[in-house]
């Protein structure tokens, strides 16, 4: 733990021994769990391509990727963490820093978070706080600074709480995105973050560097979209594996990730031609919408769906850690600094379908996004995944349900928490839903 980082405004004072003990116990369970989940993924998809092992390796916390980041840090590169996908990755890359996503999906640390915030708060926030308390998350620990977008209430306070541990740079997305003044404000926000990134890294973000960064991300988006497109037809990849690939992009070296993903896609395309499927072609095709399922612990729901009897396959997800993460490219008109910067700012604000936005037409962008995915991936049913305490996703459920009822797509509302206790109960419910979809498919 860093010492002397100002006065602790929120954080509970823990003795070093206690921290050590907690960290060891959480680490032991997490490492075991990650191995177990990877094993289970291998089991569900018997002919899993060999290339997936690369992503397994990256996904394992405290593994090779963390060592790599630490080595890069020793060489003088900075690591900039972010809690939410509103953080401009292009700007971080342009300053030659390493972007890592720090929001945590570890169950055990939520209990620690409960000491600071009430249990009603979103578990992602509580877990991230807990991780911060004991310095557990490999990504939070290595970051030199955090970009914390103030999207929902949880994220806003999380930013404050994490400022006890790390320098925190807030960016505030406006609640309304479709107006000139919002855009102006958002541009200013990103300008100030840009200045902070430049100060920390000591690298000036020049037009040339930003262009290189944008092009790097274009290539990543291209690979990302290629993978999502492969989830369209008969399933050649299991949903969990695709989700894992999507999530590793948040902390892997993006260029290597792109290369590996392209390799995976080529492999899958070959399989598509040879008709080697990952599961039976009539498996109900599920979309998960709502609160993000974060690796590692929160693989609960995906695990349940893909291991259930009857089995389902996740062909799409609406997570900011999944399908939405790299989906939108930065569309640059002219490669001048201003236009590139505007393009980056617009890319993070406008196409986002985060429920933190509101509009007079009832966040219609999100409904459209869901409908488009449902149509192109031929989704049979939607599981609306909400964390207890995730107000925005929970409140938008009625709206989404109404819209999806109109196009005759069954939606199933599933609220859960960062806990392993409700697995049995959810299993029954998910299986009933899948049973229903299965009969619809056969019908």
């Amino acid at each position: 733990m860093e010492k002397g980082f100002g006065e602790k405004k929120y954080m509970v004072e823990l003795s070093e021994r206690e921290v050590e003990d907690l960290r060891n116990s959480v680490k032991a369970t997490s490492l075991k769990l990650m191995d177990e989940y990877i094993e289970r993924m291998k089991k569900t998809w018997p002919n899993r391509p060999k290339i997936m092992e690369y992503f397994d390796e990256v996904a394992k916390f405290f593994g090779t990727r963390e060592k790599e980041i630490l080595k890069a840090k020793e060489e003088g590169r900075k690591v900039i963490g972010y809690t939410c996908m509103f953080a401009p990755i292009e700007l971080i890359l342009a300053a030659d820093a390493i972007p890592v996503r720090v929001s945590s999906g570890i169950y055990d640390t939520t209990k620690l978070g409960n000491r600071i915030v009430p249990v009603e708060v979103c578990p992602v926030v509580r877990s991230t706080i807990g991780v911060g308390m004991i310095g557990f998350s490999p990504h939070l620990e290595v970051s030199d600074a955090l970009i914390t977008p103030l999207t929902c209430d949880g994220m806003a306070k999380l930013s404050e709480i994490l400022s006890d541990r790390k320098p925190v740079w807030t960016v505030c997305p406006p609640r309304l995105k479709d107006s000139e003044q919002s855009m102006r404000f958002w541009r200013e926000e990103l300008q100030s973050v840009k200045a902070k990134i430049e100060k920390l890294t000591g690298t000036k973000i020049t037009a040339k560097k930003l262009k290189t960064a944008i092009e790097t991300m274009h290539r990543a988006t291209r690979a990302f979209r290629r993978l999502q497109e492969l989830r369209r037809g008969a399933p050649v990849i299991m949903g969990r594996d695709a989700m894992l690939v999507n999530q590793t992009s948040a902390w892997d070296d993006i260029e290597r990730w792109t290369k590996k993903t392209e390799e995976l896609c080529s492999e899958l395309e070959k399989r598509r031609q040879e008709k080697i499927l990952a599961c039976a072609p009539d498996t109900p095709r599920i979309m998960i919408a709502g609160s993000p399922a974060l690796w590692p612990d929160n693989w609960k729901l995906p695990n349940l769906i893909e291991e259930a009897n009857p089995q389902g396959v996740i062909v799409a997800d609406e997570f900011c850690s999944g399908d939405r993460f790299l989906f939108d490219p930065v569309g640059v008109d002219e490669w001048t600094m201003d236009d590139m910067f505007n393009a980056v700012a617009e890319r993070y604000l406008l196409p986002s379908t985060c429920p933190c936005f509101t509009s007079e037409d009832g966040n219609v962008d999100r409904v459209n996004w869901l409908k488009a995915r449902i149509e192109e991936r031929r989704v049979d049913g939607v599981v609306y995944h909400v964390f207890r305490g995730c107000m925005l996703y929970a409140m938008e459920y009625t709206r989404i349900k109404k819209a999806l009822d109109k196009i005759n797509v069954p939606v199933y509302y599933l609220d859960t928490d960062y806990t392993r206790e409700d697995v049995g109960q959810i299993k029954t419910r998910v299986e009933a839903f899948l049973e229903m979809l299965k009969s619809r498919v056969e019908f």
């Binding site: 037009a207 291209r222 939108d328 490219p329 569309g331 001048t336 600094m337 236009d339 617009e346 379908t353």
Partner: protein, 321 residues
């Protein structure tokens, strides 16, 4: 003697260049590089200029040319402005020049832009009505009226931007026997005093080029020739008229704002409209928005129900790559 030969050679080279450009345009189209519409557009514009020169050397009845253009805009929208107009080519070249210098353009305030767009109808009405008004007041008795009567024929004013770089008739700007011209140059020359004609012409050329250097396609925002009858489709009964329409699929559009930012004449409709057919009168169908839209089949260019060109995931490696 040798001057004439030189001018013939110059003409021939210009033509060879234009023919090459046309061939390239066809090649690009054939090789399925349809995403590079912006490049294709330059070739088409250059080829159109050559075609206009040919057209003018055969006919002196400019009125017919004008009628054809107006009929075209009635059915195809301002396709002429985006793809064929020589003045548009010069302005686009200024934008290329600006891009090379890495200078950012200015955006006009949206209100002003809309106002300028409406101004074009006023200008059109003025130029069309003027001769009729002047006829009534017997111009041979009134020197000012006579003065105005001259080139202020709707034909010459409205065909102003259509003048190609080289014209087949006598002009004030001569270069080795070639009659060079610039849109509206002859009109300006007529009104200027003999000694100022050239100076005024150059001033006008400099002004239009400089303004479009700063603001993309500045002239096109109020050019009376670019009047589009797309306004008509606001009224019931006229909705079938535009053959070329931009179509937007609402569900595929997450409103990322790229179409709004890349539009050279700052059309807002493509971004703001929910979906369906979009045929705003300001749009000159340059298809930059369709080209830049990263969402597959979100924006389409339809001609009488058939899709000619649609947005695609431009991050996908093209087949040739």
């Amino acid at each position: 003697m040798w001057l004439e030969i030189l001018s013939e050679i110059l003409k021939l080279t210009v033509f060879a260049g234009l023919a090459l450009a046309g061939a390239l345009a066809i090649l690009i189209w054939k090789r399925d590089l349809k995403t590079k519409v912006s490049y294709l557009r330059f070739f088409v514009q250059a080829a159109a200029m050559a075609a206009l020169f040919l057209l003018f050397s055969y006919t002196n009845e400019l009125l017919y040319v004008l009628i054809v253009i107006i009929l075209l805009t009635l059915f195809l929208g301002r396709l002429f402005c985006g793809w064929l107009c020589p003045l548009g080519l010069y302005l686009d070249l200024m934008a290329v020049f600006r891009k090379a210098l890495k200078i950012r353009y200015w955006n006009l305030p949206d209100k002003l832009n809309k106002l300028l767009n409406k101004l074009r109808y006023l200008l059109l009405a003025f130029f069309v009505a003027l001769p009729f008004v002047l006829e009534k007041i017997e111009p041979w008795q009134w020197s000012l009226a006579k003065f105005l009567m001259g080139p202020f024929k709707p034909v010459s004013v409205l065909l102003g931007p259509v003048e190609p770089l080289i014209i087949p008739w006598e002009s004030r700007l001569k270069f080795y026997g070639l009659n060079l011209s610039y849109p509206y140059a002859s009109v300006i020359a007529f009104y200027s005093g003999e000694s100022f004609a050239l100076a005024n012409m150059f001033l006008f050329i400099a002004l239009t080029l400089a303004s479009s250097f700063v603001v993309r396609r500045f002239w096109c925002r109020f050019c009376p020739t670019g009047v589009s009858f797309a306004v008509l489709n606001r009224f019931r009964g006229f909705r079938w008229i535009p053959l070329l329409r931009l179509n937007k699929v609402e569900e595929k559009c997450p409103k990322c704002g790229i179409c709004k930012r890349v539009c050279p004449v700052q059309v807002l409709d493509v971004y703001e409209r929910k979906g369906g057919d979009i045929a705003p009168s300001m749009c000159m169908l340059c298809l930059r928005c369709v080209e830049m839209c990263p969402y597959e089949e979100c924006l389409k260019l339809n001609m009488a129900g058939r899709t000619l060109f649609k947005s695609r995931n431009w991050l996908e490696p093209s087949k040739i790559e």
